[in-house]
Amino acid sequence: MTESTGGIDMDEESSGTIKKFAFVNRKAPYGTIYALESLEVVLISAAFDQDVSLVFMDDGVYELKKGQGTKAVGMKNFSPTYRALEGYDIEKLYVEKESMEARGLTEDDLVVPVEVLTSEEMATLMDEQDVVLSF
């Protein structure tokens, strides 16, 4: 007399939990593969509809610098790709104020609009994340 449910899980939708991911970019765009790899992971992560933030600090702020000339280093200039992030619904880009100032940069030097946070505010932001990935 027992009736099997046939393994049908009524709560299938609940598997779509949204987590907060922060990708922290700390290295210069060229010379190592970190910056480009981070960007590729970010683009792929967009397919999973998660809450994604990008953080740029230390030399990572150079990744967003306008006017990158890469002919001499023989690498593709991938900085235009940051402008594609909006189309991927990744719109939370944060730059650390101290890192930018230490390198003589302002928001006008960057290829995309960003939100500038102090290192203290950055700490709060990271605290709120479920996952922090550092590149």
């Binding site: 590729e40 683009l43 792929i44 967009a46 397919a47 593709k76 200039n77 991938f78 235009p80 790709t81 402008r83 594609a84 189309g87 991927y88």
Partner: protein, 110 residues
Amino acid sequence: MAFEINGKTYETDEEGYLVNLSEWDEEAAKYLAVEEKVEMTENHWEVVNFLREYYNDYQIAPAVRVLTKAIGKKLGPEKGNSKYLYELFPYGPAKQACKIAGLPKPTGCI
């Protein structure tokens, strides 16, 4: 691997994508379309040209979802949907249209 049209050689990778984006021309597109069994119409060219512009602007081949949305924005909602794009490129708009447009395989292409 490579193919040749009118004495010009085009180098391709093991999946048939052009190695050098700059080598692309209409003749190459027509050849790649035949390989993909796609008969190019004006609507196909529209998508292929759109992809080339997108790549030129952003240096990546867009994911299908992003392509669909961007096409809808530029060419109207009747074209910005996956049904329309899959009718044009039955084996995946990003994969097939990118190949014909001479772009690399899209990142995150599943």
